[in-house]
Point group: C2
Chain length 379, copies 2
Amino acid sequence: MGLIKVGVIGIGNMGGSHILQLDKGYINGATLTAVCDRNDHRIEWVKNNTTGEVQLFQDEEAFLNESGIDAVIIATPHYTHPEVAIKAFARGMHVLVEKPAGVYTKSVLEMNAAAKASGKVFGIVYNQRTNPLYQKIRELIQSGELGEIKRTNWIVTDWYRSQSYYDSNEWRATWKGEGGGVLLNQAPHQLDLWQWTTGLMPKYIQAFCSVGKYHDIEVEDDVTAYVEYENGATGVFITSTGEAPGTNRFEIVGDRGKIVVENEELVFYRLTQSEREFNASYKGSFGQPECWKVDIPIKGENSDHLGIIQNWTDAILKGTPLLAPGEEGVKALEISNAIYLSSWLNQKVELPINAELYYQKLQEKIKHSSLSRTGNAVR
Amino acid sequence: MGLIKVGVIGIGNMGGSHILQLDKGYINGATLTAVCDRNDHRIEWVKNNTTGEVQLFQDEEAFLNESGIDAVIIATPHYTHPEVAIKAFARGMHVLVEKPAGVYTKSVLEMNAAAKASGKVFGIVYNQRTNPLYQKIRELIQSGELGEIKRTNWIVTDWYRSQSYYDSNEWRATWKGEGGGVLLNQAPHQLDLWQWTTGLMPKYIQAFCSVGKYHDIEVEDDVTAYVEYENGATGVFITSTGEAPGTNRFEIVGDRGKIVVENEELVFYRLTQSEREFNASYKGSFGQPECWKVDIPIKGENSDHLGIIQNWTDAILKGTPLLAPGEEGVKALEISNAIYLSSWLNQKVELPINAELYYQKLQEKIKHSSLSRTGNAVR
């Protein structure tokens, strides 16, 4: 099999980055064949910044029907990910979609069904999954080293944004333009890693979102979510764009110890026996299981976006397992949708949420959105 | 004025410790004059472990009426703190009460009223307030260094207890015997420091308590509480007796930076300007205020229980301001009562809570308590 002919649709920050990596030949087995964006300036940018022969499209249908590409990277606005992916699958293309998978699970589930029916390779740009630190956490949990999980806690408030950031584009931080705030635009990676490393999806969520707390925006910029898992474990996820300096600290407590990640350092507190066993057998007053503080080396580079695109290309060419299967994009989205729904209904919600109810509630938000235009700025 | 004649009522772990410190002459200006406990063994213990002349009582009324003491330290079971204190104030005594102030705010408010009416010196054994680390946090906040508070987060799960601990006394971890679990018995110090250092009481609380999650007990051993403050700030408090090794990490985010305490170390991340001002004036895309990581020396010793008793004695003798005024005991209790009430009602509750409603709900718990005896084990 020769080079995979790759097209990129949507030339914003991320699409532009993918275009450059492909054009420079950084991805083995793939060649940049076509790009698509409605915006003249962005097409001009591609002309001026790429060296290879690239077909330029401003019309989505023409891009999909006439470019002759085998595979497409979708970096359009969040809302449009599912519809573009479904069209691509219908034409027999492989798909790599930017995060978040979409804005509401209803459409993302349709995208997943289309992917499955097509049999094509479907990936999502969860580039933090290439970070060996999070891979190691996942390994410690999957291998049973940490034992049954009791509690998770992620404070990820290092997503500081100023008002000027939000003011830089009118679609930013609007229900109509982006479909959410910090949960949908800044924190999707951590929402994904939260469930990916632990292997646990919340069963119930009760969440508290503050809308426009630190900025003049119509969506949330501050969130605290409490979750309960099927096995009885609990968790908390806190994120904000209004704190400086932010925190990024992830703690996972298990029956055999505790993992703490802060400042990109992993510490594993390892019990020499199961706490549940200790609890059942100990006869003294104030004892607790022996605990070792273990330094675990983190090997390997964080290959990031490049790693995700290469892995997706290898999956197409050689059947390499995907690090971030596209179908898994719905998980982080399910969590963020549930957080919104809980906050709107002011009650605990069960996962999976009622996707239709969420869609309807979202339409109400969109109807009253301050974004007046019908179009999308970056497509 | 000569030596203050001090009596101690309730000779459990804490009462015994106070008796020894007084008997050894560690408290300037105070002398141990009388002790009281129903239990023969405990009275015997005092005989064998003290050197001074101490009157021994097994009857509370006789102790209060006949001992001739000026001041009393109350270390009886939690439930009885207010009733004993009220009797002492009625006899013109100064009072130092062990934590928690009581079990429900209704009776503690009555105790506070009696204290006020008596004009006597009323302290509470919040001995963690003598820790210079928490004093420094309070100072950084009171002086405005941290700026307006945005968020607080305390994970204090280093209260590990085994089943054998709970089994050691039948009154432990029962609604009838202790009136609560980890919130009332292990975490009151942190609940107090949480409000004392920040100067903020929550306005609303929504909490999630797990009853007997890790132990065969009828009260909670795992808690996550979400709070909202009057100024819009939010907070989370997590505590448990089922995790090993536990965490003790307190984070306070303000407009001018962030304070983090973990492993008894204080780090102050200090912004060179207010975040709110930066947000309003910055014109770029991804900038944030300059931040300095500041090491602040923690001076002085943690005088602990000794410091509290000395300070209370000095307040009686010289009018020294109390580090832990007894009237403030209701604050941490108000928080823990609100956490229980929110958990029982499965809804957000406003503070101050309805003290009468809480009292009634608690009576239902007591009615179904597994503790069958009518008496109290340690009094």
